[in-house]
Symmetry: C2
Subunit: 224 residues, 2 copies
DNA sequence: GTCTATAGACGGATAGAC
DNA sequence: GTCTATCCGTCTATAGAC
């Protein structure tokens, strides 16, 4: 079955937005790549902004549903047992985006997803992102907190902020390692990226968090 | 003394590029903000791309010089003693950019610096960035390696990659914490951001690195 | 649903006066 | 060094035929 004009536009837009950015990827180039014309975008999506939103809607819902389902599975397994391991929660959160890197149909989306956090044009999908993030936050932050046995939610939130940054940079710029190492290193398969990031983030998130029962853990001395 | 037209253009460009992105900030808006006109940019910088490069040249040199001088000072102090602490090296690397957040003249540049890693338009300053990065890499990577007493440079490089991501996200999007927490958290002063990031990154970088003398440290088991 | 053609705004760059 | 006026290309969006 031939893919519809609508989905061909979405595919072309996803790929070109990821490669060139929202602004540099003009609707002319997108529609040319999709084998159609300018008017088709306005017919199906109303405007360029509508197209941008549609590109995110198509992938972000499934990704976040997979994250939440993964967390469900993790918590269900040992509902009355101990809390899941930090590493397991991290992997459940991170894997859906990294797995897309292996999907020929969707390989470019993770780049877009990584960049959207810092993109000056993110306002165009801000509401969409916020709704999804609130749901993730309400499920994952308590899960992390319980796993760490910690009360310092402020420190946890900052560590999760750093995790988001490391994740975004890896989804968007993993190949930079080849550039900076001048070819001595190569970008490994997504599963290895994921494993390295989980190791790094788990240790970072645990840092400064008291083992349960300790007094005043959070703040360490000034590094100098 | 009146600031020159040239420096007024640089100030306006820095601020507007940080706020709107390179593409959305048109030369018309930049020159209007600088109280001058389109032709002045081409006279002083040759083109918009020349202006973008000049905005980075003005700040990036001093920042990286400060980083290298800081590392010099650290290594000089105990030249024949033990290697400097990981936390100290991290702070020396990170502080120059975070300190700019407190400079009313340069507050916007760190946002730009954080975003440039993932910006689709980064090609416009790519050579400039690369030269500076190579020098930083050649000084800091060995310093980190020595401080960790580790041979696994591959793992170290990835952990530094994650650090760059966390740093970039924090420089560019620190205020997101207010948005995501729906106002329950506020963005702290730069020194506190720096302290939290150093704590997180030091633990992350140490993760999976063997204490000197261990066998086959790097790879941990698959998280699942 | 899909197309061509075009409107209408805005982009960077430049010529040439001062 | 700085300005005004203008060229010319590209952008998004839409009108209207099929």
């Amino acid at each position: 079955m031939e893919p519809s004009t609508k989905s061909r536009i979405l595919d072309a837009a996803e790929s070109l937005f990821a490669e060139l950015g929202f602004r540099a990827a003009s609707m002319r180039v997108v529609t040319q790549e999709a084998g159609t014309n300018l008017a088709a975008v306005n017919y199906h999506f109303g405007s360029k902004e509508g197209l941008i939103a549609a590109v995110f809607e198509r992938r972000l819902g499934p990704i976040n549903a997979e994250r939440l389902a993964g967390l469900d599975a993790l918590q269900q397994t040992d509902a009355d047992g101990p809390s899941p391991e930090l590493e397991a929660i991290l992997a459940v959160f991170l894997r859906p985006a990294f797995r897309l890197l292996e999907d020929p149909q969707a390989r470019q989306f993770p780049r877009l997803l990584g960049r959207i956090h810092s993109d000056p044009d993110r306002d165009k999908v801000r509401e969409l992102l916020f709704e999804q993030m609130v749901e993730l936050r309400d499920r994952f932050v308590p899960a992390f907190a319980r796993s760490l046995g910690c009360q310092d939610q402020v420190e946890l939130m900052w560590h999760l902020h750093f995790l988001i940054g490391a994740m975004a940079h890896t989804l968007t710029c993993a190949d930079d390692i080849e550039w900076i190492s001048e070819g001595r290193m190569q970008t490994p398969p997504p599963e290895e990226l994921l494993r390295r990031l989980v190791t790094f983030a788990a240790a970072g998130i645990r840092a400064g968090v008291a083992p349960p029962g300790d007094a005043n853990p959070g703040t360490t001395e000034e590094p100098r």
